[in-house]
């Protein structure tokens, strides 16, 4: 009787391992699928970020192609000197040397005309640089977008959306123009107005360096990396917190690109995600001299 009862309580162990193994393998498979999905997401995010950075760099390089913004900044600073000096000579001629008045007046008028022409060209350059940068980004996007599409059992990646492009400048990047000396009065005026940084002797970024003698004229100097020991700074990616939107009609030196990408992980019925990546790059630096 006792033996019969004991036998009834004793379970057979022979099938347990099969069940345990089954459960374990299933768990492992689910974990592998999850890992693949997250790994895939990580991979896709890195890829879209690389593409966005590349597009931002493409736009940033185009902005200051052939140092056109750097040259404009440098010429604007030199135009200031020209107008200031012409005004000074004209004032002297008017007050003390009447025989020179006509010549001094004509040269002063020409200097002013030069400043007006330069301002018009600066505005034209702004439009050209922005449009060319946008075109370059679109062209590169067309080349890269197809490579993003991916269909796997656990991951579906769509084609990234058309990039949204913005232009601005970078915090703490001054202008590429070295302080111009040679006219003491103008140098003093610049120091008084704090147009020039005392440590680097560069003009500040995004200023309208008007001169007291002719306040109608605009001399806008834009932000652009200055060369370091005669080496021009290459275009490079920067952090999002360094980006600043342009508030006035300054020339842009930073390109910001945003892209979105639809991703389906294949886990669950409602696993559609939209990834967003932002790439910000600063333009190639300018020369200090013309």
């Amino acid at each position: 009787m006792i033996r019969t009862h004991e036998r009834k309580n004793i379970r057979r162990n022979s099938g347990n391992m099969l069940i345990l193994s089954g459960v374990f393998i299933t768990l492992l498979a689910v974990l592998a699928l999850v890992a693949c999905s997250f790994g895939g997401l990580f991979f896709v995010f890195n890829r879209i970020q690389t593409t966005t950075d590349e597009l931002a760099l493409t736009g940033a390089r185009k902005l200051n192609e052939q140092d056109r913004i750097g040259q404009m900044n440098n010429m604007i600073a030199r135009c200031r000197q020209l107008v200031y000096d012409a005004h000074k000579s004209h004032t002297y001629a008017y007050e003390d040397a009447s025989q020179l008045n006509q010549l001094a007046e004509q040269l002063h008028d020409e200097a002013r005309e030069g400043a007006i022409l330069l301002e018009a060209e600066r505005q034209k350059l702004r439009v050209v640089a922005v449009n060319e940068a946008k075109s370059a980004i679109t062209e590169r996007y067309e080349e890269l977008k197809e490579g993003h599409s991916l269909v796997l059992p656990w991951l579906k990646v769509a084609i990234p959306t058309t990039p949204m492009v913005e232009f601005g400048y970078a915090k703490d990047i001054r202008s590429n123009v070295a302080e111009l000396k040679g006219i003491d009065d103008l140098e003093m005026e610049d120091n008084k107005q704090s147009f020039v940084l005392t440590d680097s002797h560069l003009y500040k970024e995004n200023i309208d360096a008007k001169i007291s003698t002719d306040t109608e004229l605009h001399f806008r100097i834009s932000s652009l990396p200055a060369p370091v020991q005669s080496t021009v700074a290459p275009a490079r990616c920067i952090l999002a917190k360094q980006y600043k939107s342009l508030v006035a009609a300054d020339l842009p030196s930073v390109c910001k690109v945003e892209m979105k990408l639809g991703v389906d992980t294949g886990i669950g019925a409602d696993a559609h995600q939209e990834m967003k990546s932002t790439g910000i790059a600063v333009a190639t630096g300018g020369e200090k001299v013309l």
Partner: protein, 207 residues
């Protein structure tokens, strides 16, 4: 006989034309006179080196592509090797764009100066020649402000006429050379001569 008469007639016509040409040359002599040597003493030379710049402002629709740089320096005639960089000027399509002064015009007040133009580069464009003329006038004004008299302006032979025309744009008119015997009544006179020598032109300031 007839042939002789015809030849004589032709000779008369040729001689007539030659006389008219000679008279015209003499009449125009004060405007562009050939000369071998003009003695106008000066103590200082202000040299203007002009150069057409490439690869500047290269963007679509740029009005500043044809940029000319005029580099001004000065030296005392007794110390030609010791040049002082004075200022750089930039011109685009003959419009003055910018200036960078490197040094004050440290020329002794009252000293006479010579302004000398040189073109750097094999080919000198019309814009570069006009820019040279404008740079000359800037040097004339700077010298006058510094109380220096411009004794002479020496320019390359190839640019002589363009620079002369540019000077006229600044209210200067061709005039006979002012000499102690025949002074020209003007508050400012300029004397332009070519290098190598051959062409000269005097200008008087017109109000």
């Amino acid at each position: 006989m007839n042939r002789l008469a015809a030849m004589s007639k032709k000779l008369t016509i040729v001689m007539g034309i030659t006389s008219i040409a000679a008279a015209a040359t003499l009449a125009l002599a004060p405007i562009a006179k050939c000369t071998e040597h003009v003695d106008r003493p000066f103590e200082w030379t202000v040299e203007i080196d002009t150069k057409q710049l490439k690869n500047q402002f290269q963007y679509n629709g740029s009005e500043l592509k044809e940029l000319v740089k005029a580099k001004m320096s000065y030296f005392k005639m007794t110390d030609e090797d010791n040049k002082t960089d004075y200022e750089d000027l930039w011109y685009a399509k003959s419009k003055t764009l910018g200036m960078e002064r490197h040094h004050k015009l440290d020329i002794t007040q009252g000293d006479a100066i010579c302004i000398k133009v040189k073109h750097i580069g094999e080919y000198t464009s019309y814009d570069e020649q006009r820019a040279s003329g404008k740079a000359v006038m800037k040097a004339v004004l700077d010298a006058a402000v510094n109380k220096n008299m411009v004794a002479t302006i020496k320019v390359p032979m190839t640019s002589f006429h363009t620079i002369a025309a540019e000077i006229e744009n600044y209210h200067f008119a061709p005039a006979p050379a002012s000499t102690p015997d025949n002074p020209v009544d003007s508050d400012m006179n300029l004397f332009l001569e070519s290098e190598p020598a051959g062409l000269t032109q005097s200008f008087a300031h017109m109000h």
